[in-house]
Structure formats: C-alpha cells, structure tokens
C-alpha cells in the first residue's frame, strides 16, 4: 500500500468521508458505553431527548449554543493564522470580570448605556488578556499555546480571589459569592432566549464579512498560509497578528459579558463553564468556516445539555459526553487524511 496526494476531490466525497467518520465515532462510543454496562441506543436516545425534547430544553440548548458560537468565531480568527489560542476560557473570564466591574459599580446608569459599556468592557477585558500572548509571540517567538493556557488558570485564580476577598457580597450570608447584578445590568430576552443570540448572529456576519471581503481578512488568511509569503508581499505581519488576536480575545470577552449578564447574573470563577475548550472542538469541526460554526455549536450545545440530562436520568456521568465529543473529533481529525490522500495497492510491477 502507498499513498498518493489527491489532486481533486468532489464535495460529495468529502461529505461522505465526514459522515463515515462521525458514524465510526458513534460506534466506538457505543462500544465504550456497552463496556461500562449501559445500553448505547438508550443513552443516545436520551441524549437527544435531553437536548431537543421539549420547547424548554430546546431553549436551554440554544442558550448554551450562544457562547459556543461566539467563542468559536473568536478562536477561529486566531486559528486561521495558526495562532493556537486555547485561552478562550481565560479571555471569557477576564471579559466577564471587566463587564462585572461596570455592572457592580455603575448600575445607576440608564440600561442601554450600562449594557453598552459592559459590552465594550467585556471586549476590552478579553482582548487585553489575549494581547499578552500575542505580543510575546510576535516579539519573542514564545509558544502561544502554553501562555494562553497558563493565563486561563491565572484568570480563574484571580476571580476566585475576588470572590473570596474584595468583591465578596456582604449580604451573601458568608457565602463566597459576588453580588447579583441589578436588573439594569441584565441582558433582555427576545423570544425566551437572552438577546445574546442576536449579538451572536451579528458577530458571525460581521466576522464572515471581515474575513472574506476586507484587506485585513485577506492578510489574515495569507499569514495563515505562509508568514514568509505575507512578509514578501509587504504586509506588516506583526501588526496584523496582534490586531487579529485582540479581536479574537475580545470576542471571547464578549462571551464573558453575555454569560455573566444574561445567564448567571453575577460573576463567578466558573462563568466560562468550559466553553473555551469546547469551542476549540467546534471551531476545528467547522473547518474554520463561520457559517458551519452555528450548526456545529448547536449540536455540541445539545451534547452538553443532553449530557447533564443523562446524568440525572441514567446516572451516567456527564463526562460521558466529553468522551463522546473527543471521539467524534478524533475520527474527524483522522478522516482528514482520506480527504487529502488516497491509498493504492502497490502493483506487481512497482513491487519489483
């Protein structure tokens, strides 16, 4: 057997390869569940019921898909440049922190003004947190993967510190929690889901436009292909990378603002709920395409919500859905090979 680079592959064939790999990942997950003593079909069925089974559950799933969509868009910008921003968690937390500072201290402002300020504070919090690894990367060549990840832990510890220390709610009956936001600082709902879904759609459209139709977007994709090419073409590579990473982190920061305001109504160290990590999967599965991020994120939000449902219904730990998510990703990553190459049997003549 040897492999040959494919010169052209039809869209149908790519979709077929992808479907086969998702199917194989489900089969593997079934084996895993069977091995743990559960009936796979039952588990998958209740996953689906838990995720999309009623109007209430559907709303919950959509609410969860909002942070996934937006974080994925943020991460996508970085990934397009092969800047491995896995600091989504930290950027979400720091965005939430900055927005909460406004919410807790200026709650007497008129609601539209307050929410707008919180929005920009969220962007700034996440963007500045991402600026650190961006500057280190372009000026010193420091590995951004580890820096962004370490900053996640620092952000968690920082908010935990606030929660137990200076920002502790004096009316919290001794619980280490930050005060609930005033109604003024809470995002309104539209059709039963907080307004973040409109913001999410807007961000998807704006970033798609930026990447596809503007000079900056073009520069980002060239840098992703080859930094040398970008340099020869006379682009200011460092400048573009730093600006794009601020945007990437800033968008994650907006997620922090929306989660703190629209969902939790306060700031806590688990405001990011792992979205920064799940978004890495959804971004990759979407093939770094903004339009595909939306359905994939809704599907993964379903996996998260369904996962917590099977925990209560079957006593299957929620981590089962993490395993399932990673299995799907393993198979999709592996399937990429069959999109790029085809295997051919060595002919007798060649073997000689």
């Amino acid at each position: 057997m040897r492999m040959i680079q494919r010169t052209n592959i039809s869209k149908q064939k790519i979709i077929l390869i992808r479907l086969i790999s998702v199917f194989l990942s489900l089969m593997t997950a079934s084996l895993f569940l069977q091995f743990m003593g559960h009936h796979p079909i039952d588990v998958f069925a209740s996953l689906a019921i838990g995720a999309f089974g009623s109007a209430y559950r559907l709303r919950e799933t959509l609410t969860t898909s909002i942070p996934l969509v937006v974080t994925s868009i943020g991460i996508m910008i970085a990934f397009k440049m092969k800047f491995w921003n896995i600091g989504g968690e930290g950027q979400i937390i720091m965005g939430a922190f900055a927005a909460s500072y406004i919410a807790l201290n200026y709650s007497e402002l008129p609601k539209p003004l307050l929410l707008t300020l919180m929005f920009f504070a969220g962007f700034l919090g996440g963007g500045m947190w991402a600026l650190i690894p961006a500057l280190l990367k372009v000026h010193l060549g420091t590995n951004e993967t580890i820096i962004t990840l370490m900053l996640n832990y620092v952000a968690i510890k920082w908010v935990t510190y606030l929660q137990y220390g200076p920002w502790k709610d004096p009316n919290g009956m001794g619980f280490p929690q930050i005060a609930t936001f005033e109604p003024n600082a809470i995002l309104p709902k539209v059709f039963g889901v907080h307004i973040g879904w409109i913001i999410a759609i807007f961000i998807v459209l704006a970033i798609s436009f930026l990447l596809a139709k503007t000079k900056k977007g073009f520069e980002i994709s060239v840098i992703g292909e080859s930094i040398d090419t970008a340099r020869y073409a006379g682009m200011n590579v460092k400048h573009v990378i730093v600006a794009a990473i601020i945007l990437s982190g800033g968008i994650c920061g907006i997620v922090g603002m929306m989660e703190a305001s629209g969902v939790n109504r306060t700031l806590s160290s688990n405001v990011s709920s792992g979205y920064g990590f799940t978004a890495i999967i959804t971004t990759w599965l979407s093939g770094l395409k903004a339009s595909i991020i939306i359905p994939v994120s809704i599907l993964f939000a379903g996996l998260i919500k369904g996962g917590s449902f099977i925990q209560t219904a079957y006593g299957i730990p929620q981590s089962a859905s993490d395993v399932l998510q990673s299995l799907i990703l393993f198979f999709i990553i592996g399937s990429e090979f069959f999109v790029q190459y085809r295997l051919v049997r060595r002919t007798a003549k060649e073997a000689l």
Binding site: M150, Y161, S326, L329
Partner: protein, 307 residues
C-alpha cells in the same frame, strides 16, 4: 528554607519530572504532543483502579504506563500514520483523557488506597547516602516512585546521548528525511518513542493519584501536564536539566502553604506556578540558541519521498 520543605518539593516535583521526561522523549521524535494532561489523567485513573482492586503496586504502575501509552498510541496513529495536525490531535487527547478519567473515576470519588498499598510507598532510606546533610533526606530517603523517576531521568540521558538508538532518535527528530536515507526506520522510531513518552506521562499521573494524594479526585493533575510541556522548553530538551526544572516547579507549587502566615491570599498564591511558567517561557525565548533549540522537524509531518 528548611529540609522538610526540600523533601516535600522533591515529592511535588516527581509527577512533573515523569511527565516532562515523557514529553521530552515525544518531542525528540519530532512530535509535539499537547495531550500530556490527558495522558497523565489516563494513567492516574488506570493506576488508581489497578492499585485499588489488586493492592499490587507493580500492577498499578504497569496499568498506568499502559494507559498513558495507549493515549500516546492514539496520538501517534493520528500524527504519524495519518499525518494529522499535532496541535489539534494533542488537544483532543487532553479532552479525551479528562473525559475518560472523570467517567471511569466516578466510582472512586472519595475512595482511598489501602494502607497496605500506601505502606509500600513509604520512604525508604538508602544506607550511608541518606546521612548526607540536606541532600540525603531530599534524594535518598524518599519513596520508591521518586527513585524510579530520578533513575528514569538519568537512564533517558544516557540513552539519548550515549547509545546508537538515542542518536538515531535525535536524527529522526532533526531531519527525518536524512535519517530515512541512512537506513533508520523513521515511523517505527516515532511510534516507539511517542508511546513510551505517553507511558511516562501516565506514570506521572499515577504518582499523584496513588502515592502523593492517595485518594481519587477529579482532574487530579490540575494543569501539571501543561506545566510539563513548558518545562520541556525550559530545560531545553535535556533530561538531566529536567530534574532541576521539575524541582523548581515542585517547590513553587507547595510554596503557597508555607507562605500562609504572610497574609497573602491563598488564591493569589495558587496562581504562582502558572505565572512562573509564563515567566520561564519568556526567559527561555530570550536565550534561544543553537544548542537550546527544539528538534528541527518538531511538529511537521514526515512524508517519505516516492521512490
């Protein structure tokens, strides 16, 4: 700083050292595996399960190594055979390992290893050597696992710099094409070392779960896998330096408890190891030289030329 602090620092450094050695071996083969955290957790849960059910320390170690190695094998298959992106494959391995360990570990939450098992890993003083002031209790009056980690670091150093196989491995990581041309089986070398690297990471996780803590906790590694990846860069891919690097971070991770009287918030002190990791990486990027450089082919897939 007193002796008891140094002894505790060595214990805290052991899981880091094992994971650092594992990642070092993997990177020498030209593969950047960001799944260290996942492989440590796989090793932790497998080691805990094996030790808990059989009370056999040897089986716990074998189980942990096998589970970590299996993680390495998944990564190896994706990146060696299927030429997948190293970063994404490694990240997925971390998610996988975290998920599997919490899933399989649900039954162990709050469970402890038996006294019999714990006693096996009581400190053993090595005659004469343990009498040396400071260094004696630090290095020669520790548990079996600590000795194992230190021994592995030294053996790995000898292997890499003094044996033909080690030198072949370095060639594979630096220039797989040239290694292939000189008759080295590149894929085999990559597979063996990526799997062995995973096994070492698994042992690091098992030390935490079965000896250091020794009670099951979810996500028991708490980011140590990532610190190990940074440490590989910090110690510039040198297993001997890894002993010192791990010791530095082991010390940092426990310094919080010792500074409680300073009236600094525990939560801020907890951030210290992560902040220092950042600092260390920044310093390492300043002192990049030819000698300290990563393997040249690190992270890039190898395609054998058509012949």
């Amino acid at each position: 700083m007193n002796t008891s602090f140094l002894v505790a620092a060595v214990i805290a450094s052991t899981p880091l050292l094992l994971a650092t050695l594992g990642e070092l071996l993997t990177e020498k083969a030209g593969h950047l595996n960001l799944g260290v955290e996942g492989m440590m957790l796989l090793g932790a849960v497998a080691g805990f399960a094996a030790g808990y059910y059989t009370n056999d320390p040897l089986l716990a170690i074998i189980g942990a190594g096998a589970a970590g190695g299996l993680g390495g094998l998944i990564f190896g298959f994706l990146t060696i055979t299927l030429r997948a992106n190293h970063t994404v494959s490694g990240l997925t391995l971390t998610i996988f390992g975290t998920g599997v360990s919490s899933f399989a570990g649900t039954t162990f939450i709050g469970k402890k290893m038996s006294t019999e098992f714990i006693e096996f890993f009581n400190p053993v003083a090595i005659p004469v050597l343990s009498k040396i002031p400071v260094l004696g209790p630090m290095l020669f009056k520790q548990d079996f696992f600590v000795y194992l980690a230190l021994l592995l670091a030294i053996l790995l150093g000898i292997y890499l710099y003094r044996t033909r196989y080690g030198i072949n491995l370095i060639a594979v990581g630096e220039n797989p094409g040239a290694a292939d041309a000189s008759g080295i089986h590149v894929e085999l070398y990559k597979y063996i070392h990526v799997v062995l690297g995973g096994a070492l990471c698994g042992l690091g996780g098992a030390y935490l779960a079965t000896v250091d803590v020794p009670q099951w906790q979810e996500q028991i590694t708490a980011g140590r896998g990532w610190i190990a990846i940074a440490l590989v860069i910090f110690v510039s891919w040198n297993p001997y330096k890894a002993i010192l690097g791990a010791l530095l971070f082991g010390g940092l991770s426990i310094v919080g408890f010792r500074l409680q009287h300073l009236n600094v918030s525990q939560n801020l002190l907890d951030a210290l190891p992560y902040l220092v990791t950042i600092l260390v990486l920044v310093i390492s990027s300043f002192k990049q030289s030819k000698e300290n450089a990563p393997p040249k082919a690190l992270g890039s897939p190898y395609f054998r030329e058509e012949r």
